[in-house]
Symmetry: C2
Subunit: 340 residues, 2 copies
């Protein structure tokens, strides 16, 4: 008799790193977050929900609010505040995306036309302001001054990081450390704040607050570095934006920094011409990708991302094993494995 | 013998309505506000203080923070919180100006090139976000949740008002009531919030908080209506922007609404062509001003402003006479008399 092995499609899927763990962990609370997001984008000024919903309903993973809920769970938080702070974090993120699209002249976002292409830069700026205001209102409703302090500080640091990126834009002399400072601000700070407010709400010891912040910060750095790689490697459909956007915008990211430093003087001239002076012709994107590959710049950026991913995982060492910790550790692996 | 009348230049000056009363009243605290503004625009990212200082040092009157200090004085507030809230209010205002310039494609602001002309739209959007974040941080430091609620709500309402204006832009069918709703949001709400937080900090009875809010709201409406008139009448130097900016941008303001409704069908065609379709030729601004004058639209907008100014003054009726009340009443007269 033949032994019949039962076929379990779920087991197949879970072989690849996924965010299913965190999705299942916070499912019930995320429904409340999503309802809150929907209700707080409402306005008599009909353009506001239109613009906001265009972006919000476009299938972002909502990773940041899930992190707030999961770290609140890790800290055994029992109250209602985490749901509102999670929605606030997503609004802060959405506001940043709307403003970023204006700053970067982006045409695509999450596989759809950027809001500014449909409603103009004006609406993107102002609806971003509206969402940021609503984020603060929700935080204030929660009434925890430490959490307010963390999230408002994050808003300042994010803006600083974005301006620093603007100032460094098109400067091929940017060092790896300078670039790290930029992405700590523009990306990782919100991950850090999203993870820190959970144990703060739960009034856990300072060491646990610091641990969750550190987890978020390092996860955020890893996340951004992988994004930088995807911009030269993913397919537009999977990425939701066009491959080579960073190149065309003259953005100096870690793969570029590595290839520039490892390259010949002739190659550096190529980078200066294309990124600093914006003189980009046919075949230049392909040449850029070729140089990045020849110098292992993409593979080594992923290695760097793995380093920060390890730091994120180790930051959670203080916490006992359990479903929340397992889910948070899986998120790190998922974020890095997006590149495969 | 001839009687020698002593000459008092101060008496001469005070004959014309001025803001000297409020300036003298809050002088000491405004020095602390100005120091705070300077220190909180600091950043290692040098572009941030550059952009912020360009606008902040360009000689705005700082009317809004003075209102916060004066209403705190009216409410006999003794603590330190009003200075930080006053600085927050000015930062919120500055952030709005930076974003407005991007939304309106403005070239001038307060008689200087708009920041976006020097550093680009990108920096204006992001430094605006930075200042808004800093505003929230200062509010949170004060730690009064009601004041936080009022100011964060104002941030949302301002953004809503701006979007509503965008949606109504170039629509000559906008009614006076619809326009009022827009300026309540985009301008008057911040005046109202700036005036409300003083008595809130002082924990004065609700009736006094409402009275100060009402004073600010109506003052703000009057202020905006006079601004609308100045756009067709002031000199560019005094105004700090170019006469006719609103006309060229197709902005529907109260003078236009009145002239449109009072005009002939041929005149309405002119307004539709110039404001809705943006087909503006030589002589069209002069024709617009001619029509506004022929229909008393500018004079009647000033009359409307006087109406809201009266409401603002009456709102303070609850408070006993004193230097703070006198200064606040003078501000109303000053704001309206700018048009003379």
């Amino acid at each position: 008799m033949a032994v019949v092995l039962p076929f379990d499609p779920a087991a197949e899927v879970s072989a690849a790193p996924s965010i299913e763990g965190i999705v299942n962990l916070v499912r019930a609370d995320m429904e409340r977050v999503n309802a809150l997001i929907l209700s707080r984008t409402g306005s008599d000024v009909t353009m506001i929900p239109e613009v906001a919903q265009h972006l919000i309903s476009s299938g972002g993973k909502r990773l940041r609010p899930m992190l707030t809920l999961a770290t609140a769970g890790l800290a055994a938080y029992q109250g209602d505040g985490a749901v509102k702070l999670a929605a606030s974090v997503e609004f802060m993120h959405t506001a940043t995306l709307l403003h970023d699209d204006v700053v970067d002249d982006s045409e695509m976002r999450r596989g759809k036309l950027a809001a500014r292409m449909l409603w103009g830069n004006e609406a993107s700026v102002l609806v971003g302001d509206f969402l940021l205001g609503q984020a603060f209102r929700m935080m204030i409703e929660v009434g925890n001054l430490t959490a307010l302090d963390i999230l408002s500080n994050a808003a300042v640091v994010i803006a600083e990081g974005e301006v620093a990126q603007l100032a460094a834009a098109k400067n091929t002399a940017t060092s790896e450390d300078e670039y790290l400072a930029v992405i700590r601000g523009k990306t990782a700070e919100l991950f850090a704040a999203a993870c820190e407010v959970g144990p703060v709400l739960a009034e856990r010891p300072k060491a646990e607050q610091v641990a969750c912040r550190s987890y978020g910060m390092n996860l955020g750095i890893a996340f951004q570095l992988v994004d930088d790689v995807l911009d030269y490697g993913g397919s537009g459909a999977a990425l939701g934006k066009n491959v080579g956007d960073d190149f065309r915008e003259g953005k100096i990211t870690l793969p570029i920094i590595l290839a520039f430093r490892r390259g010949t003087e002739e190659e550096r001239d190529f980078w200066r011409r294309s990124l600093e002076r914006g003189e980009i012709g046919e075949g230049d994107l392909a040449r850029a990708v070729g140089l990045l590959e020849c110098h292992q710049a993409l593979a080594d950026t992923v290695k760097r991302a793995r380093h920060y991913g390890s730091m994120a995982c180790d930051a959670l060492g203080l916490f006992p094993a359990g479903p929340a910790k397992r889910a948070l550790l899986d998120v790190v692996e998922f974020c890095i494995s997006r590149v495969n």
